[in-house]
Amino acid sequence: MTAEPSTPDSRVRQAGYGLSAAAAVSILFLLAPSNDAVRLIQIGAVAAVILLILAVLGALSARTGKAALYLATGLLALAAAVLQLIQFGRDTNWIGGNGSTVAWLAGLGIGFAALWYVSHSARRSD
């Protein structure tokens, strides 16, 4: 049996699943003790829900290969990152995170947006 060759589509799909898995695994930081050695990212209850939604949407995007779904997932993550950036360190902090939460959500948002770009440009050139 020979391995299936890696196509641009399958690589985008793998990256989509990878980012979704990263979002899902990072929810575990909710349970991490609050010391610097373990808690790399500050995740509160609201952030955990957002990450769960991102993980599900991201996995759906990868499964269906729909460019618009990648874009929606990326925009949701980026919107959450901007909201967190505006609010953290202040009295009102809906997501309950800090700068590390901003960076993590921004990374996921950039990642999914990049996958939208690849899928979208591949469709246009077909």
Partner: protein, 184 residues
């Protein structure tokens, strides 16, 4: 006296190829992601709006180390006369740079550019704190070296978005695509 003899230089030994197998590529991706996580965690304690200025803690405390325990006098002068009087602006800039470093290095997008930014930021941190009490200088030297490795190996091309996007950018004649090819 005859001068027509030609002295041929001895053949250079071909450089050994680096290991570009799966293990090597996974190792580079791990390094990039770990350094990305380092910056993500680091951006966690840069707290707006005053970044520790009033309580003399956090980013403010570490920035004043550059003046209290100088490493490079011109850098200390810059901190004392430019950065500290405009600390809120500097705090937000630091936060945004470190958020960018974390976000982009973790996913491996524009990795060479961000590795260059990481070298600059690590150098600034080194010049601020390396002479302060209880600091371990090699922490900062290793941070600089890790970014140099990420820069020189273009580590975003392995298990990163750069690897996925570079073929697209190569096909496009736009200026942004050419810029991204250089940055990745």
């Amino acid at each position: 006296m005859s001068t027509d003899h030609v002295t041929a230089s001895p053949p250079r030994e071909a450089a050994e190829e680096l290991d570009q197998g799966r293990g090597g590529r996974i190792g580079l991706a791990l390094l990039r992601i770990a350094i990305g996580l380092l910056w993500i965690q680091n951006s966690g304690w840069k707290s707006p709006p005053d970044f520790g200025q009033e309580s003399e803690t956090g980013l403010f405390k570490f920035t004043t180390y550059a003046v209290d325990y100088p490493v490079f006098p011109p850098f200390s002068w810059l901190i004392e006369n430019v950065v500290l009087p405009n600390f809120t602006v500097f705090g937000y800039l630091t936060l945004l740079v470190e958020v960018g470093l974390g976000a982009f290095l973790v996913v491996g997008l524009a990795t060479r550019f961000w590795a260059l930014v990481g070298i600059g930021q690590s150098l600034a941190i080194t010049l601020s704190v390396v002479n302060a009490p209880d600091e371990f200088p090699w922490t900062y030297y290793l941070m600089i070296v890790a970014h140099i490795v990420i820069l020189t190996t273009a580590a975003g091309r392995t298990f990163g978005l750069d690897g996925l996007l570079r073929p697209r950018w190569r096909q496009s004649p736009s200026r942004v695509s050419r810029l991204m090819l250089r940055a990745s």
